[in-house]
């Protein structure tokens, strides 16, 4: 059974059904999207637990010649690095579909695009041929562009334009890097498993590294290429923000580990000081900018920039312990940031503002459930033990410190600033005497509001209590990759 292909085809199928559904049948459209979301989640979990991590390596492989003359293949497969990302993706999309349940504007197009995007993102995480990888990489941009541009708030066109131009500029470098790799390989190929054995000279690797790094750096995002992110997040509707922070950023981190670390380790070694510096700038500068924000959503967006520094630092350190931490951090941040963006969406829906100062005033009294959900997300984000991001960051530190002492020490100070902006925001918005102008706000009441919270908190706590659920998978694959 070609499970991975099924995983990729189902959302497209869903999109086609939605396409054929009459315009006025919103309910049917949503039901189809939900059904696909559930099926995808179930399949991904099935794959996850039937993957044999003792054997490590790529499994569920599907390999067919596609464009024979160019040696381009339809080549899918997953290992302990990509599987956690696949599971994360299906969960986040499921939550995003639930979070979009109240959507009433151009419902058909909206869910159509969401479905297409799910295929694209899963394609990126499962492709083992760089051409195919790039195709999916580009395919993801269009729905995202339209989702921000059509369903966004006031400055949506600016944000969407910025998103697409920025990412496409990155993609150009990525494509250049892939093509260079293709032509420089002993036997022309886009096949990642073969490129890993290509044995590029260190000089060549460092050149390729720069091209490909630029592509992924925009996506992660790495300072100074991060400014599209706050704009995109602020304008995007909440479910789209959940996808953006939850999985799209992880495509950058995944690419860095799979391609830069996996195929170009000598290239990484040539730029260790630069990478470590950028990682620390991401962590500290990101946290400081977040602390200085007036808009709650921008604050959380910048917090993503800060946390993605903890994915870049292990790339610079290149130790298995740290990279396990990076995979864990990607998964953890995926669920936690989606939870936070979801909560912000709930608040925005009710109060019609995202400005911290305007929201100020004891919201915990009128929307206690939203408050609890946000506070749990905030505590997870600041690295509280018992939740997934703590152990992720601990592993990042533990693995990076022996090789990158000063950067790691600087990185650890980030946990103070993170606590600072998160707790300060919580205090201003949720605590204190109730502001009468918010007394009318209604708490969460629908199951489609509860479910994403339950799923995301559940995953966060589950991994926090039992991180081996990820690391058992990622560890053997990363060790095999670094060998």
């Amino acid at each position: 059974m070609p499970w991975l292909s099924l995983l990729l085809v189902l959302p497209v199928l869903g999109a086609l059904i939605i396409f054929c559904t009459p315009r006025e049948q919103d309910k049917t459209v949503k039901a189809v999207a939900l059904l696909i979301g559930i099926l995808e989640t179930v399949i991904s979990l099935g794959l996850y637990f039937s993957y044999d991590f003792h054997k490590a390596g790529l499994q569920f492989i599907e390999e067919y010649n596609w464009i024979t003359t160019l040696n381009i293949k339809y080549f899918l497969g997953v290992d302990g690095l990509s599987l956690p990302m696949v599971v994360l993706t299906t969960f986040i999309f499921l939550c995003a579909v639930l979070a979009s349940w109240g959507m009433s504007h151009r419902v058909k197009e909206y869910f159509f695009l969401i479905m297409i995007m799910e295929t694209a993102v899963l394609g990126v995480f499962t492709s083992l041929d760089l051409f195919l990888f790039f195709l999916f990489w580009e395919l993801e941009l269009i729905p995202m562009y339209l989702l921000i541009g059509i369903w966004g708030s006031a400055r949506r066109e600016y944000a969407a334009m910025k998103f697409i131009i920025y990412t496409m500029t990155g993609s150009a470098f990525l494509l250049a890097g892939f093509l260079a790799m293709y032509f420089l390989a002993p036997e022309r190929t886009f096949d990642i498993t073969q490129l890993a054995k290509a044995g590029f000279a260190p000089g060549v690797q460092s050149l390729l590294f720069v091209l490909i790094f630029l592509g992924f750096a925009v996506k992660l995002p790495v300072f100074p290429f991060h400014t599209w992110l706050p704009d995109a997040h602020v304008e995007a509707p909440a479910p789209v923000s959940m996808i953006l922070a939850g999985v799209l950023l992880k495509m950058g981190g995944y690419g860095l580990i799979r391609i830069n670390v996996g195929l170009l380790p000598e290239g990484v070694k040539a730029y260790i000081p630069l990478l470590a510096t950028l990682a620390i700038i991401n962590v500290l500068y990101g946290a400081y900018v977040a602390l200085g924000q007036k808009d709650l959503k921008t604050m959380i967006a910048m917090s993503s920039v800060s946390h993605m520094g903890f994915v870049l630092l292990p790339v610079a350190a290149m130790t298995p312990l740290a990279l396990n931490g990076a995979v864990l951090e990607m998964f953890a941040h995926g669920t936690v940031s989606a939870l936070l963006f979801f909560c912000v969406g709930l608040i925005y829906e009710r109060a019609h503002t995202r400005e911290i100062k305007a929201l100020e005033g004891g919201l915990a009294a009128c929307v206690p459930k939203i408050a609890v959900a946000f506070i749990i997300g905030g505590l997870a984000s600041l690295g509280l033990p018992g939740m997934s991001q703590f152990i992720a960051e601990f592993l990042v530190f533990l693995g990076s410190f022996p090789v990158l002492r000063l950067p790691t020490v600087l990185g650890t100070t980030g946990i103070v600033f993170t606590a600072g902006y998160i707790l300060w925001a919580i205090k201003r918005i949720f605590y204190g005497p109730l502001n009468p102008k918010w007394a009318h706000l209604k708490d969460m009441q629908h199951s489609y509001e509860y479910l994403p919270v339950v799923i995301l908190v559940g995953l966060t706590v589950l991994i926090g209590f039992y991180p081996a659920l990820i690391t058992n998978w990622s560890d053997s694959s990363l060790l095999a990759m670094l060998r």
Partner: protein, 630 residues
Amino acid sequence: MVPYAWLITAMPFIAFLIIIGVTYRRPLASALVAITCTAVSLMVSLSVLVAVIGGQTAELSLKWAEISSFKLELGVLVDPMSAVMFVVVSTITLLVQIYSIGYMHGDPGFSRFFSFLSLFAFSMLGLVSANNFLQIFMFWELVGLCSYLLIGFWYDQPGVALPPPAAGMRAFIVTRIGDVGFLIGILLLASAIPTLNFNEIFAAAEAGKLNTTLLTIAAVLIFTGAVGKSAQFPLHVWLPDAMEGPTPVSALIHAATMVAAGVYLVARTMAIFAAGPDSLLVVAYIGGFTAFLAASIGLVMTDFKRVIAYSTISQLGYMMMALGVSGAVTAGMFHLTTHAFFKALLFLAIGSVIHAAHSQEMRDLGGLGKDMKITSLTFLVGSLALAGIPPFSGFWSKDEIVHAAFASGKVGLGFLGLIVAFMTSFYIFRVYFATFWGERPAHQHGHHVHESPPTMTVPLIILAVLAVVVGWVGTPWANYFAAFLSPGEHHGGGVEGFTVMLMLVSTLIALAGILLAWAIYGRRHYDIEPLAEKSPGLYAFLSKKWFIENFYYGVIVPYGAVGLARLCAWFDRAIIDGLVNGIAGVVGGIGVSLRRFQTGYLQFYALIFFAVVVIAAVYLTLFTGLSAGI
């Protein structure tokens, strides 16, 4: 019972889960669940203590995750030190929980309160039982979380000095500064020896396998964590603010959890400090200085809850000093134990006063002894223990610390200890006389006070008994406590003349402090402090807490944190993003000549790009023969 020691930690967590999951809407059931589970913890703790006295120890361990052959474990370390702490923590938690039934009666957050108390006990017990650095750090952070939640418990109230959530936030962030140091210390140790297990690391340190400089630095970094949690200078500022929490929480934080964690951490990792001995000097002097600093502020506070808060900081300073001067755990751990009981007693007693009189300002109080006999009497017992009057428990432990300072040759710290002892007995009896003696101030006459209910007074009586007798296990004549905690060490042997003389001197000093307090506050009620009239400069300096908080919250936070953050946010928008848009503008300018292609629809560009890729792919798939030449 030793194999079941994990139950001690697990029970409060079970209580937490039951309360939030099942009994949340039934307050009394929640209290009952919490108390039952803590009682089970206490019983297991006691039987474990008996087993350990009988010579049993154990290290239970569970593999949590193994990553790239680095093992992460969760464990329970049962040895004399943890056995003592299990009993102390579960006893005080139990009494505080019983007391809280009365104190929190009718509070809308009653169940939430008991769930947090249980979580707090779980965190502290998990910390105490840790057999490795990861676990102790995790529970260390959870202890921080619980104090954040409990200090800010009344999240919608204005508070006495500042809003409770603000106080909780300060506590979390200030202690987290220390945690960063602790974390780096752990990383440093783990980079030298690839394990986090205590016994493996200590064995390597004692065998001299690790570099002394590295151990010294690691020890100082670990101590940084303790400075945060145990409120030592310069991170002591969070603790007085923590008084915004409900008083039972203060009792718990100050006696058994949170602040005790720092002292316990240093004691637990003493092997590392001992292997890098310079670190002990840091511990000793920071401790000594903190003891003095906090006592001096305690002299002038007018809110009696704050006096006792500063007293905690000061006593923790004593404990750190003890650990530092002796390089051994007994004196510090002994004072931690005795202090836990008399400090819990003092807090619960003033809680009883606040409950009855609805004020914690001493100038609003006075003459309460007549109406609150049990509270007054038990507070007196606590005060005598704190002041160090024999045979109350505080006397024995404090005397051991001062003795250790002189014995180590650090005579300066020894004398400092005596001076602080004088200040201590003065400030605590100032509170006693001003609150319970004399007459009620005229403006309070209409308000009738009455003794608290038995749920509150019974814990007071139990604690009062303990505050007297706990010290008897560690007298210079028969120091069972020291013999139990570190059986290998030599404990005095006999009682020398110097020991007896020191006991006499310190008793006299404590009595002098009481006498002075009586002379000033015992005979009349003051609206203006005598010191403020005689020496306004010194009074202002002390009541402004040496201006340390003004510096932190007036300079560092607004400029170093918030101001800089706003600057960064501006820089990000104006410069970084401005640059990006600038480049885009230049590119756009070049594109003017290509204006014909500009349709105005943004989607158009994206679609073109994507379409080209797709068309190319389809084309090549279908007509691969034509592309053979590429």
